[in-house]
């Protein structure tokens, strides 16, 4: 469903954001992505919805491969997954209803079917009575619900959420998280990046911990922690003898061969 194989992502200006990340997310799974700021969570999510392409390795999502991406593939992929962000990304000059309808209109949905579908989605996220409100007339939690309704218009197989509760207070956070659980219970996978330790502690979902562009632990894959430890040792060595260190790519390749040996 979602599979990353030895993915490295380097940005031209800031260098390596992800370093040899491999990961599989199964159908209907709920996955937390956590780690300090700058550890690569958002980058990892962007690779999944193919806003960015990997520098090395490959990303496969629902049959679409980053290495053999064709024109138009990205648009097709986006219709199969939903994405929400910390900053909601709603259009301020349109009502909640129009914001959700927008996603249907621009993907060529048959017009007569739109209003009923939008109303059903707003009801699902608990905003049945707020359809005619503009974003600035809604609370942060309500705005995020509109964004979630919009992400669900095409019945995605996965919902990608990048710190969806980052701008919300505790109450609203719990509400939005509850909504995500319901969506997941109905069969949609959820991959959610978060800083919220409270949420992580209270739920028993799979949690992937990142640091410096690497996965340092994965509750579904204990060996990930081992691999990470091996690589940290490797890093220390290269740090002590900087003159002997080859390019970073070689270092991680060496680390990889050691852990698989």
């Amino acid at each position: 469903m979602i599979r990353l194989t030895h993915v490295t992502k380097e940005y031209a200006r800031t260098g390596r954001a992800l370093d040899d990340v491999s990961l599989h997310v199964a159908k209907g799974e709920f996955v937390f992505l956590t780690g300090p700021s700058g550890s690569g969570k958002s980058t990892l999510l962007k690779l999944i919805f193919m806003e960015e392409r990997p520098t090395l390795g490959e990303v496969r999502v629902s049959g679409i491969n980053s290495a053999t991406l064709h024109r138009g593939d990205v648009a097709q992929l986006r219709r199969k997954l939903g994405v929400v962000f910390q900053d909601f990304r709603l259009l301020d000059d349109r009502t909640a209803h129009a914001n959700v309808a927008f996603a249907l209109e621009v993907t060529g949905a048959a017009e007569p079917s739109v209003p009923a579908k939008v109303s059903r989605l707003l009801m699902q996220v608990g905003l049945a009575s707020k359809g005619l409100a503009y974003p600035q007339e809604l609370s942060g939690g309500e705005q995020q619900r509109v964004a979630i309704a919009r992400a669900l218009v095409n019945d995605p197989f996965v919902l990608i959420a990048d710190e969806p509760t980052g701008n919300l207070d505790d109450r609203a956070t719990r509400g939005v998280f509850q909504l995500l659980r319901e969506i997941n219970a109905a069969g949609t996978a959820v991959v959610m990046a978060t800083h919220n330790l409270e949420l992580l502690r209270r739920s028993e979902y799979r949690t992937i911990d990142m640091l410096h562009g690497r996965i340092v632990s994965d509750t579904a894959d204990p060996s990930a922690a081992e691999r990470a430890a091996a690589r940290i040792v490797e890093d220390d060595e290269t740090a002590r003898f900087p003159g002997d260190a080859g390019p970073k790519g070689q270092t991680s390749a060496a680390a990889r061969s050691r852990t698989t040996a």
């Binding site: 024109r71 927008f102 621009v106 992400a151």
Partner: protein, 283 residues
């Protein structure tokens, strides 16, 4: 489609001045083409009328034996370019001059006018070059004193037509380039103003073509408007010229006018197409 049209209206409302400027430069471009095109077609028309009368006249030396003239007329009649040859004897030349000049007829006395051979050319050989060539061939007969044809002003009309065409094409192209740049700028502003919306469209899976469509329609509509504006301006200019000259000049045919409007649409479309791809890559 309805969505696209709504976006076009929104874009015009967002930058009305720039939108108007885009339409106007397209109109100017086509107006330049149109004006000089009019000059060109009117000259072509005049030339066609004149050319049908183009003839070469070879004046014959006095005392040339009539047999030599008859043989020459026969030869010239065999030239593939020649439609018609006639021998005008000194007497009939005199008669004709008297007839045409009426009251001044007495000026001419018998023997003053030379005999001549009049040659009319076929339709396809009435351009200055062919005329000159055949005149030279006719002039090579030893008994031909002088060859006359409307060389100067035929050549001049052709020259004017060439200049009008070049000026029209150059000015028209210059305006077209300016129009493309202005339309491109309008699109850039529109894309920037809608960057957020475009980002969301892509996020939820709108195709590239769908994102582009409103911008292309925008350019197309402006081009068509500019085309009609240019047509109006050209027509106005044409009727002003008619009034000044006191006679009716030739105007474009409907088909040609439609072609002009289509040209405007293409300029508008080109302006937005060139810009939109580049701009969309940035947002």
């Amino acid at each position: 489609m309805r969505l696209a049209l709504r976006e076009v209206l929104l874009a015009v409302r967002r930058a009305p001045l720039l939108s108007a400027l885009g339409v106007i430069t397209i109109a100017f471009s086509l107006f330049a083409f149109g004006l000089f095109g009019l000059v060109a077609i009117n000259i072509r028309d005049a030339l066609r009328q004149v050319e049908s009368r183009v003839e070469i006249r070879a004046f014959i030396a006095d005392a040339t034996p009539i047999e030599a003239i008859v043989t020459a007329v026969g030869d010239i009649g065999e030239f593939p370019e020649v439609a018609h040859v006639d021998y005008v004897s000194p007497d009939s030349a005199l008669a004709r001059a008297r007839r045409e000049l009426g009251e001044f007829a007495d000026v001419f006395e018998a023997g003053v006018l030379p005999g001549s051979i009049e040659i009319r050319l076929k339709q396809d050989f009435r351009d200055p070059r062919s005329v000159k060539m055949i005149a030279a061939r006719v002039g090579s007969y030893s008994f031909v004193d002088d060859v006359r044809y409307g060389e100067d002003w035929v050549a001049k009309l052709y020259q004017i037509r060439t200049i009008a065409t070049i000026v029209g094409v150059v000015l028209g192209l210059a305006f077209a380039i300016v129009a493309v740049i202005i339309i491109g700028t309008t699109i850039r502003m529109a894309v920037l103003a809608r960057a957020r919306e475009i980002g969301i469209m892509r996020l939820v899976g709108a195709t590239d073509a769908f994102v582009r469509l409103p911008f292309l329609i925008d350019g197309f509509v402006k081009g068509v408007l500019g085309g009609f504006l240019a047509l109006g301006l050209t027509w106005l200019a044409s009727s002003l010229i008619d009034r000044a000259l006191g006679f009716q000049t030739v105007f474009f045919s409907t088909g040609f006018a439609a072609l002009g409007v289509l040209g405007g649409a293409l300029i508008g479309l080109a302006g937005s197409a060139i810009s939109v791809g580049r701009q969309l890559r940035r947002v």
